[in-house]
């Protein structure tokens, strides 16, 4: 039962975050690239003012899987690094915390782009 609740919360919050993105696409002229940038920066800001962590505690992957979760990881990494190392942490924390995701995107991106042929866009 508890596990079903977990999935339900992840579905609800993850769905709402994506629906917000769709509202922005449908009602503004924001391009997909701008939306991704916006969500990451918003994730940093919301995490900075302490609103994103409660969302992660509540919804788990529902809050970490959307790109705003990537922003949250950046901010959380910086916060921990500044606490540990002081000023230098402002520069090391973000990329350290998100390094696995960035490296995975680069490496898998490269390998897939090398192996596969461009598909037709139909």
């Amino acid at each position: 039962m508890e596990i079903l609740m977990e999935y339900g919360k992840a579905f609800l919050i993850g769905g709402i975050i994506c629906a917000i993105g769709q509202v922005l696409i449908d009602y503004t002229k924001l391009s997909p690239a701008r939306i991704l940038v916006l969500f990451v920066v918003l994730g940093v800001v919301l995490s900075g003012i302490g609103w994103y962590q409660p969302l992660v505690d509540f919804a788990g992957a529902g809050a970490t899987v959307p790109l705003s979760g990537f922003g949250h990881m950046l901010a959380k990494g910086v916060r921990e690094a500044v606490t540990e190392d002081g000023l230098i942490g402002a520069f090391t924390g973000g990329l350290t915390a998100t390094s696995a995701g960035i490296a995975a995107a680069i490496v898998f991106g490269l390998v897939v782009a090398l192996i596969f042929k461009p598909g037709d866009k139909s």
Binding site: I3, E6, Y7, A10, F11, L12, I13, G14, G15, I17, C18, A19, G21, Q22, V23, L24, I25, D26, Y27, P32, A33, L36, F39, V40, G43, V44, V45, G48, G60, A61, G62, T64, V65, P66, L67, S68, F70, G71, L74, V78, R79, A81, V82, G89, A90, F91, G94, T98, A100, G101, A104, A105, I106, F108, G109, L110, V112, A113, F116, G119
Partner: protein, 147 residues
């Protein structure tokens, strides 16, 4: 019939995406929600396999990025994205798709300035503004001693 710019914008809005907002938004909600449920399933499974809570989120992200890269290579992610809209764009899988798709498309222009450069078409701006925002945040909490 004279149509000024504002009126034209209104007509455009009426004619294009907006008219399907009542389908697009629920679809984004459902598909995006399902991708997050998959993420939750992976995270829970990894924790059961003994991966610490600290790393389970990261391993989940790597898995989702891998799956999305593969589906993009197989030309399947775009098919899901046609229905999912922001539901397939906003999750980390959409980010991975935005990394792979242009790299694949521009591979013909060479491995360095084609594939290598286009890999960062979307990832570049996301990392630039995300990292900058986080450094500003770090400077603020350091200067004002908020941690």
């Amino acid at each position: 019939m004279a149509v000024d710019k504002m009126e034209y914008d209104k007509m455009l809005k009426k004619a294009s995406p907006n008219s399907k907002a009542y389908i697009n938004i629920p679809m984004a909600f459902i598909i995006g929600g399902l991708i997050c449920v998959l993420g939750q399933f992976l995270m829970t499974s990894y924790e059961k396999m003994g991966i610490s809570t600290y790393f389970s989120g990261t391993v989940t992200s790597i898995t989702l990025i891998f799956l999305s890269a593969l589906l993009t290579g197989l030309n399947l992610y775009d098919n899901i994205a046609k229905h999912g809209g922001a539901g397939t764009l906003v999750p980390i899988t959409g980010f991975a798709n935005a990394v792979v798709a242009p790299a694949l498309e521009f591979k013909a222009e060479g491995l360095i300035l084609g594939l290598g450069a286009k890999l960062f078409t979307i990832a570049g701006p996301v990392i630039v503004y995300g990292v900058t925002a986080s450094v500003i945040y770090g400077l603020i909490i350091y200067i004002f001693k908020l941690v």
